[in-house]
Symmetry: C2
Subunit: 199 residues, 2 copies
Amino acid sequence: MNFLEERIQKDGVVKEGNVLKVDSFLNHQMDVKLFDEMGKEFARRFEGCPINKILTIEASGIGIASVVALHFDNAPVVFAKKAKSINLDGEMYTAEVESFTHKNTNHVIVSKKFLSKDDHILIIDDFLANGCALQGLIGIANQAGATVEGIGIAIEKGFQQGGRMIRNLGYKLESLAIIDAMDASTGKITFREQQAAHH
Amino acid sequence: MNFLEERIQKDGVVKEGNVLKVDSFLNHQMDVKLFDEMGKEFARRFEGCPINKILTIEASGIGIASVVALHFDNAPVVFAKKAKSINLDGEMYTAEVESFTHKNTNHVIVSKKFLSKDDHILIIDDFLANGCALQGLIGIANQAGATVEGIGIAIEKGFQQGGRMIRNLGYKLESLAIIDAMDASTGKITFREQQAAHH
């Protein structure tokens, strides 16, 4: 097991309905030293990619993306914002994102000032399940004409279809922990085997 | 001028109605190397305070708080979340926060699991103007019985009352840049003099 899988095993809580609670270290309380390890590992996995910008989505992607970005040279973070209203003035890239947790649809926006065809983007997010948020971020990158160099995810629910779909589309998707099964009654979490993280 | 004042002077845009746009480096696109400098400076200003946790509020506080937290030993970040609905089941600390920008009131929540009377908190946020967000965060810390060791702000609008009120209450409030006046017609920004940042 790598460092993130070990932490999920130790502090993650499996709930009914394929819910994994990692709010003690990932998305409410945030262990930034763990994020720093994740940054080192993403830098290793995306070594040689000409990444000049990190793209993420509010709120829980922002902390990870910010610490990860310190491991790339001159790569600011741009985060997609949840729109209060749909802005049709042409200054924003927009995407629709369905939320599985909240059972609703949000529009997210990125100012056109901060993404262009010259950008080589690494997309970072905390979770990948059905892939709706990620599709929105890729859609925004495509609207800008930017190149998606890769996608780095902390935890992928491998038993949902998001990861397979994104890989089928040809994107370089690296998830630090891929969960193939979890059992709320026993708390058991089964991780997909992957090459050992350099830790 | 310190490093943040210089950056505001260079890349900030003054708009009518005392609006300062810093979305190219602080709160939409985020220069994490600048946040790293801010972390060094906050670590210097709060040296000797027994800080074990950083508290902030979604969304734009999260990136700064996460990078700043790397400069403190074993201090995870907890961010107050905008509540979808008011949760009355007793598992959350809650506060009301008025938004000046959006002219509405949000409830923000922090899980009781992540703040307690044993915590010594540094509150971090990007902006301080009328102080509503900060009052909410202090209120949540007080509900938990935690000790607020200090408050670190990137940009304070010194011509609004939030900073004076918080200092009058006796909190150790450190703002890296305090703006005493700005003029949308000329773009001129006047900073309050403070001791030089160790840079």
